[in-house]
Amino acid sequence: MIVFHAGMIEGQMILWGETPVGPHLVPARPPRRKQNKKGKIIPAEVFPYDAGREGLQTALLEAGVGFPFKGKSFAEMIAWLPTTNNTPVPSSPLIADPPQSDGKTTFSPWAITGFPLSSEQALEFLCASMGKQTLAPGIIVGKDLEFWTLAARLAGSLVAKQQFLPGLAKDHETYAACWKPVFSGDDRQRLTELARAMPEVSRALLPLEKNAALPQEGPSFPSSLSAVTLFVEKMADCLIRKSAALFDSKRIYADPASYSSLHDQWIEALRLPHGAMAGDGAELERLASQIRDWQRPIMASAVTPFRLCFRLEEPGDNGKTTETSENGPDSWYVRYLLQDIHDPSLLLPAAEAWQGQESLKAAKKKKTVSPLLRDGFQPQEYLLLSLGQASGICPRIEGSLKTSAPPGYELDAIGAHDFLTEKAQVLEQAGFGVMLPAWWTRKGTKLRLTVRANVKSPKMKGGSGLSLEEIVQVDWDVALGDTKLTLAELRELARLKAPLVKFRGQWVQMNAEEIQEALEFWKKNAQDKAPVRQILQMALGAAHTPGPIAFEGVTATGWIGDFLKELEGKTPFQELPVPAEFQGTLRPYQIRGYSWIGFLRKWGLGACLADDIGLGKTIQTLALIQRDWQKEAKGPVLLLCPMSVVGNWQKEASRFTPDLPVMVHHGLDRAKGDEFQKKAVRQAMVISSYALLHRDFETFQQVSWSGVVLDEAQNIKNPETKQAKAARAISAEYRLALTGTPVENNVGDLWSIMEFLNPGFLGTQTEFKKKFFVPIQTGSDPEAIGRLKRLTQPFLLRRLKTDRAIITDLPEKMEMKVFCTLTKEQASLYEAVVKEALRSLDKSEGIQRKGVILATLSKLKQVCNHPAQFLRDNSPIPDRSGKLARLTEMAEEIIAVGDRALVFSQFAEMGEILKRHLQETFGKEVLFLHGAIPKAKRDRMIEHFQTEGDGPSVFVLSLKAGGTGLNLTRASHVFHFDRWWNPAVENQATDRVFRIGQTKNVQVHKFVCAGTLEEKIDEMIERKKEIAAKVIGTGEGWLTELSTAELKDLFALRKEAIGE
């Protein structure tokens, strides 16, 4: 495991890493002491957790970053880190526990191995790390690295907004052409905001030689603001240079004499990788000052602590300032204000700046210090400069400058309208602040002319069902807000000719052209025809609506109206009766979910059920399949899921829908082609895995499916993957996606799932990117997210455990079994153990026999857990255990929604494996409590887990150590990863979370490997529950009393146990 860190030395990014030191590992190099010239000894011991050259190299390769490595690629440097008791405090408990505190923490130098990145490499690496917690299992993105990815995004945003200028940088006596980002207005605030939040480790690095020559008072580190600024400058420069690069490599080494002028050299150097300029020093200095002069007007306004802000005030608005006498009763006013960059709520009227520097200073003596007197700021000159610049944009500003100290200017409704619609935007783009009344939105006044479609449903034809393909008549209306306008009223409005009109106390934008358009639209489109499918799209705001006027929505009567209202959740849809054959009870919210899927299914629309983990997505789905099967079995349902849950589906189906024919399609001897088709059509449900979806795609396509259900549908979130493409290509009457991760939060993932459910509804991927993804990610259209929500919400149902309506439906404790499969490796190990055991059993008796039985039980449990636990060979963890795969999937959902979980195992070795695997997968601390942990540390762990906020999400406990005396009420999930064949012991453990103080519903997940002894013992206990307590006692001894024949049956591996 490695935690990647990134620091900055003079604008160069240094990558370094922390790895845990195992008990068998000692620091690779002996501690070293550095001596400086004055003879003062600066201790710089080797950082014990330093990843070192090899650690960095391996991790980078594993992360898929192909940087070339050479001996010189790495450099030893010094990191000043918090240190207590002469031991450094690591960044995270993933690395090591913090050292025992001696009460004071100091900063001390530690030698680390750094990997300096060129700007280009830094960009590449930061892009690869953006938004990620791990780069690969066990390769964790440190918080400081995460911080720099944000800083890189800021650099990207400045370049995208074209906020940069060409310049010339001087370093000692050499000059280099460079691009400089311009931080104006809000961007400067963003920069300070970033600097404030910077992890200090990012600036705590020093090159070795600098550390060796430290001044007496200790090292000096760049301020966070200067470090971030320098970094953003470097990244922006690299990016612009790279995109403007000259591909004519011959010229790169061109002799400065070959340029006909210094200006030519400069322009070219701006497009070369290094940017170095050659020539006479005095001449270069002259160029530098020329450039400064040229940049002055923009750079000057970019460094002031205030910015000019224009506030539009309505007639009669008394404003917040005292001198509003300029406002007549009917006139609008644009007020000049100076806005504090760092505290945007601080707005000072221009009058204060007009007083002049001296008057402000004079006032200072009277102890009323103006905030304008700051950092050598020249308020009056700044105001003049800004107004001078703004006057070019807006002639009325120029008009106001005919006096010596204008506070703003007055304007009429036409002027106000012009300001709102045009000037405000241009001023904003030029970097000025603009404040507009709240009733104004980007698209105009909140109240405005709209068109609305009226749809009357045709009469139902006897017998035949309703369809989205039905063509219906659409009548268009023009309205103002909620008021429908008649043609005469519209013409009346057209005569008013005022751009802003007060309509029932609210301002309305009245554009003559728009009114004209409305009139024409009316004439042309008043009556129209469209299929219901299009009406549905229009109603949700997805379709391109005719005409240029804002589209307000659809009003529909009859069945179309009912359908739309139900779809948008405005009226509750009809609840469906649960089929009598369904062997289970649906809770009220489950009936609603099941009916909802049924409703969409009726219309041939796809549905995504995204209920929280444990709310019963499986049984809602099974109920629907049962109902479908009874009503009209048109064909089987194809259910696709990860291999790890195939067994679970099969078990749940046999439990809740025992009379449905179900077929599992997996394994080497699975049916193919015609044979499959013949078998499949007789089923109500065919269960298979994503892995086979692509491989057996042609086989699947031969069947006419009534439905396709995707469990753990986040598996198709990437639309480019083979399984996503195959899932979309399978044809079926209805489609259902099940997922417990909040897909709606990730805009990028939404398209793929929606495209599976309702092809074309969100447009092509490219259209979606343009209409939703980019606007939402770049914040360029604040309404895009709302539009997308409205579009997808009818097809997405997500209930949380914490929803009020759900909580009342749920019992306080829910127990469920999670059936897992074995991997092939597990199965062959299992069979080998059984074979060995049966041989020994034949030869042994009495006490010895009991010993063999107990040892075999233990070995089989270990195999079911993980081959590495059984083999004790420290071998790799991932992809070798069905249980672990399932736990990882479920933990991911739990972490994604911010829940916390306890995981119990009776084996300390397994606990260690679980902790390591979960930590490496999620890059987050996982706690592990076992018998060897002293009480003080145990108490700290519990406190850590119980605290609010950003604590660990998963707590692994050994059943013995964690079974009693603990209070862990923060968890709402309990996993029993392996079983203690004694319900009393398990219940005691479960009660850790189920104590006084527990406010949440608790879900208990008991893991069972299907087809193995785990399932068989589980069945035995279930069968004899009432006598269990007596028979079973407190241990597993009762199992040793079984006959050899019974044991043979108990140990035997059923075929269904094996996954892929």
Binding site: L81, P199, L270, R296, G604, K631, T778
Partner: protein
């Protein structure tokens, strides 16, 4: 020309080709876009020097002017003619007396527009009127307001070399309106200092007013900051707001910043400055957006083009949907 015409074998003088001279940035037609630049040029053109004007213009375009240095009240320049050694050109402009300046400044400070426009790089329209009311003129008007010299053998003054320099100055006026005041004996900083006190006569006389809004680049040496954070903040930093970046979009007008600043002073490059900028800004912005969205990869700097015909596949007829349950 006439002077050399006497010798039958002597061709009309052709200037030596120059590399890296100052090149006029205006495309054909006029030098200087602004009215004040035009006013300056019109003074030259009023001197009736005939064909020399045209030759001066082509000198200015082909980069024959090697250097221009401006100072209070005077301009020095080197121009490459037909002889190996460049000619020295000097233009001296009659400076205004300090009392004249005081009169002007008093008037100018009555309206904020004058200083505002000047600071924003523009000559205020009404400024000539202010000068006129004080019986002065902004631009040199008569021959005696202007002294020109050139080391060339041409007997005519102004000669084409002077004209070339004069034209290039016209372009520079476009960018820097303060230049005319400088030539009239008042530097930018002095003028702003005087305007700042204006009718508020509180600024003590003789003290040099500080007008630089922008610190010199060399002055910025960031002070160090000790490490102080507590351990969680040292490693993890502080929380940032959700919407840190605000709206990010590529502006509709490219290279707006350099365009706002205008052409580079006395540009000598072979490529036109703003044209070079306009070629660089749009592709850079596209890559900036990629970086912002985390989709940037330096290896393949190909930009996906977001344009495709919308096709509403949702509306295609499909099976199902009528099943009465």
């Amino acid at each position: 020309m006439g002077r050399w015409g006497y010798f039958g074998y002597f061709k009309p003088s052709r200037p030596r080709a120059v590399k890296g001279g100052i090149r006029a940035q205006s495309k054909g037609g006029k030098f200087g876009e602004s009215w004040w630049a035009k006013r300056w040029i019109s003074v030259l053109e009023s001197f009736n020097i005939g064909a020399r004007l045209g030759r001066g213009r082509s000198y200015a375009r082909s980069g024959q002017v090697l250097s221009i240095e401006t100072d209070k009240g005077r301009v020095r320049a080197k121009v490459q003619g037909s002889r190996p050694k460049p000619y020295e050109v000097a233009i001296q402009v009659m400076a205004l007396s300090s009392t004249d300046w005081q009169k002007v400044v008093r008037e100018l400070s009555k309206q904020a527009i004058f200083t505002a426009k000047l600071l924003a790089g523009e000559m205020p329209q009404d400024i000539e009127k202010v000068f006129k009311d004080a019986r002065l003129s902004v631009f040199p008007e008569k021959l005696k307001d202007l002294k020109t010299e050139c080391s060339c053998p041409d007997w005519s003054n102004p000669c084409k070399h002077i004209a070339a320099v004069y034209y290039l100055l016209g372009e520079e006026f476009d960018r820097d309106p303060f230049l005319i005041f400088k030539l009239r004996g008042m530097s930018r900083d002095e003028l702003l200092g005087l305007l700042g006190q204006g009718d508020r006569k509180s600024l003590p006389k003789g003290r040099k007013s500080k007008v630089a809004l922008l610190p010199e680049e060399d002055e910025i040496s960031p002070p160090g900051e000790p490490l102080t954070a507590d351990i969680p903040a040292f490693w993890g930093g502080l929380k940032l707001p959700e919407s840190l970046f605000g709206e990010v979009r590529i502006p509709p007008v490219s290279a707006a910043l350099p365009k706002r600043l205008g052409n580079f002073p006395f540009w000598r490059g072979e490529t036109k400055f703003l044209e070079a900028m306009e070629a660089i800004y749009p592709p850079a912005a596209a890559h900036g957006l990629d970086l912002f969205l985390g989709a940037f990869s330096p290896g393949s700097m190909q930009k996906e083009i977001l344009s495709e015909k919308p096709e509403n596949t949702f509306l295609k007829k499909r099976k199902g949907g009528i099943s009465p349950l």
